[in-house]
């Protein structure tokens, strides 16, 4: 009896001593989700969809890599309408100097390529499995599918504009763009032609517009793509393809439900998407800010960073001078460096007073103002209704319908300058009038490089206040190799289909 008891005790001891650490027995990690779980219900799909939107403003592997927000800075710094004051920090300096995008080993081409393909990978996996989701209504599935297709089109649209030569209407456009990912694959893919990519972009957007027709209205935070945004993307694409009719049609559809903001709202700092004309943006919470970086650490006028303090961003003086004196947008730029009331500049968060170390220059901006100068977070604009007026007006001019163009642009212009008499808009000069309206309206929102490339215009920084010392180049001829991003070497090494880089 006693012996038996001992045997049992020993046996139990042996078993307990010999057992594995408990975590060895787990068949799934505790901090991550198995891919099969994604399609368990529609909510999981939506959680992944939200992650895709986060990819538009999260930080990748460096301080210059805050998602689409960083690309917006790159596009404007490559242009002529933002003028740098000083050498400042190294961040984005290589873009201002037209260096980063032309080096296959630079972080910028890799970051851009990686971000858009990461979005595409997530989107394509979801699209492949979304029909298998149990207990979801067709409407629920279609709404998500509509957003996914629009995001796929958006990513391909960015990729083709960066890595391909520009689309030319009426041509074959068989120049190479970037790999076209309409399905998920871990295998390397060849580059598709620019024509093929636009074909897919349009197909996705057309479907998205149809699918999103039944989507419920968004809340106050317009971070998701809805039907109006899909129309807006379609209008952008049509403008880039010089398809004026489509651009007019979709721009009009896109802005239908929005009203232009008031002049007082225009001076509110552009960091709150509850504004009446914001169509799409990122809602960046304080806890989602990277330790260093974020859009407003570079682009706000009041957050105190090593980027904003010594190097306030100025407006191109030629663009500034072409504005009427009563235009509200003129008031975003400092005319008098001693005007601390209207232009306090960079704020020292501990005193709440203007930072004494800040550099002050005439024409420095206060377009982007963060709500709390101690925190570099705020909403980041991806699309506003004003852009839709500009697309429509530009397309009308290109289509030869000058009076209609004037009628559209004057709505925007008279909102921004309430004392403007439209008689003073010269119809013979309407094309450059719209161009100025576009540049001032979208200043700092990441359009200029793409606009110059799309219109096949040269970059001309002469007389803008820019110097070769800071910007390296004052001019870059239209077209040519300088307008294409290099494919990152990292991709060429792992992709046997891409043997040759862009010249």
């Amino acid at each position: 009896m006693n012996k038996k008891f001992l045997y049992i005790v020993f046996a139990l001891l042996l078993i307990s001593l010999g057992s594995c650490k408990k975590s060895y027995l787990d068949t799934t990690p505790s901090d991550q989700i198995k891919s099969e779980k994604i399609f368990d219900n529609i909510n999981n799909v939506r959680v992944n969809l939200n992650g895709v939107y986060r990819m538009l403003y999260m930080q990748y592997s460096g301080q210059e890599e805050d998602g689409q927000a960083s690309m917006m800075i790159v596009f404007d710094f490559l242009g002529e309408d933002i003028v740098h004051t000083a050498t400042g920090t190294s961040y984005f300096r290589g873009s201002y100097r037209w260096a980063d995008h032309r080096s296959e080993t630079n972080a910028l081409p890799l970051f851009a390529y990686r971000m858009y393909y990461r979005i595409l990978a997530n989107v394509n996996i979801l699209l492949a499995g979304i029909d298998t989701v149990p207990n979801a209504t067709p409407t629920e599935i279609n709404n998500v599918r509509g957003e996914l297709l629009a995001l796929r089109a958006f990513s391909h649209f960015m990729l083709v504009q960066l890595f391909g030569q520009r689309f030319q209407k009426g041509e074959a456009n068989d120049q190479l763009g970037a790999p076209l990912m309409t399905f998920y694959s871990e295998a390397p893919q060849p580059r598709a032609t620019v024509a093929k990519m636009y074909e897919s972009i349009n197909e996705d957007l057309n479907k998205a517009i149809g699918l999103l027709a039944s989507a419920p209205a968004r809340g106050i935070y317009r971070t998701h793509i809805d039907k109006s945004v899909a129309h807006g993307l379609k209008a952008r694409v049509a403008l880039t393809q010089q398809d004026w009719t489509l651009a007019i049609l979709h721009a009009k559809e896109a802005r239908a439900a929005y009203t232009l903001m008031s002049n007082s709202a225009y001076l509110d700092g552009f960091t709150d998407m509850k504004n009446s004309e914001w169509m799409w943006g990122a809602h960046q919470l304080t806890e989602q800010l990277p330790t260093y970086g974020s859009f407003y650490a570079y682009m706000s006028s009041n957050f105190n960073s090593a980027h904003t303090r010594p190097n306030p961003k100025l407006i191109n003086v030629l663009l500034y001078n072409s504005l009427t004196l009563t235009d509200v947008r003129r008031r975003l730029f400092c005319d008098d460096v001693n005007d601390f009331v209207n232009f306090p500049g960079v704020i020292n968060a501990s005193t709440g007073q203007p930072e004494p170390q800040q550099v002050r220059r005439r024409l420095m901006h206060k377009k982007f103002v963060v709500a709390d100068p101690a925190v570099s977070g705020g909403d980041i604009p991806f699309m506003r209704a004003a852009e839709m007026y500009l697309i429509e007006a530009e397309a009308l001019v290109e289509d030869g319908r000058l009076q209609e163009a004037l009628d559209v642009i004057k709505v925007l212009a008279m909102n921004r300058d309430t004392s403007l008499d439209p008689v003073n808009i010269d119809i013979n000069d309407i094309k450059s009038y719209i161009d100025v309206q576009r540049r001032i309206e979208l200043w700092g929102e990441g359009f200029r490089f793409l606009d110059l490339k799309r219109k096949n215009q040269e970059l001309d920084r002469s007389g803008t206040g820019a110097t070769t010392e800071l910007g390296q180049y004052l001019t870059r001829a239209a077209g040519g190799i300088w307008w294409q991003f290099k494919i990152p070497r990292r991709e060429i090494q792992a992709n046997p289909f891409i043997n040759e880089n862009n010249p």
Partner: protein
Amino acid sequence: MKLRGSYGEVGNDRTGSYFTYMNLYTLGYDNGSEPGMIFTQLGNDKLQWETNYNADVAIEVSAFKNRVGATVEAFRRQSKNLLFDINMPITSGVLTRDDNFGSMRNEGIELQLNGVPLKTKSFSWNIVFNATTLRNKIVSLPDSYVGRQNGTKRYNVGRSLYDYYLYDFVMVNPNDGTNLYLPVDKATTANRVIVGADTLTSSTANAQYYFAGSAIPDFFGSINNTFTYKNWSLQALVIYQIGGYTYDNDYQSLMFRGSTSATSNGRAMHKDMLTRWQKPGDISTVNKVDISASYLSQSDRWLTSSNYLNLRTVALTYSFPKKMIARLKLTNAKAYVNGENLFITSKRKGLDPTQTYTGSASYTYAPSRIVSFGLNLTL
């Protein structure tokens, strides 16, 4: 005489995770206040163990009552299915994933000789000599790694992981003090400079890479001498290496005055800078002083022979006589003087080739010379 051998296979699953075969998503990527997650791991369900096959054969002989002995040992360690983070096409949505990398082989021969040249009742001299030669070879590689430059080396099947692949620096241009390299193509290369009968290039963009030597020495080893006389014993260990090159990053950074930026303007320089090119006609192997770091371009100019001889340790020990110990009620008592790193000879003063496996010395500290005295008592 003795013949011995061994063979073993060892597996390795060190990937840092038990879940490398799964596709995984990570939570916490919220969109504003809406919960979000993203695809973060591409699984590999074909992942295998990394296996190391170790084999060695040795012959040991001894003669004259073990007064003379020798061991010759041949060893080979073949690694297959090495576990690595492989670069994926970026279109896959991830940068890397765990995969079996390829295979690599290390093999070599080790020779050890030991002898007791002198032995009397109160005196003995014991000597052990050791030499090893080693070869490393990449047997196979995934396509995406073939020919990839990795710092100063390059991955090539059939070559060693430790072969330098560098520009061929030839000389400093006597006319303007810039560096001249062997060009890729003597006829069409841009930035051509004709020196005598040779065509060179002043731009690394046109310079030719070549396999410039290996970080692995021809052979290396040690010599250990032990002398004992009555209660005294003296032991001296010398280690050495013959062949192989060090890429001397430290020297490279000392051959630069710094740029004009506030943080790097003006730096300490190596005394070789005194022999630099200064005026047209100067023949030198050191370029002119310049603020541009481009003169420091990675080339075989920075390779330095790794030959060295290092007196690693010398130890003199006195063991107190047994009688005395017994009287003091101790079991053991010793007094000693130890010296470590008493000297090293290397091609360049200050260079310590013993500190790196990959051959790239960088921010190394010279090992300190230590002399210690001690008394060891055991109760």
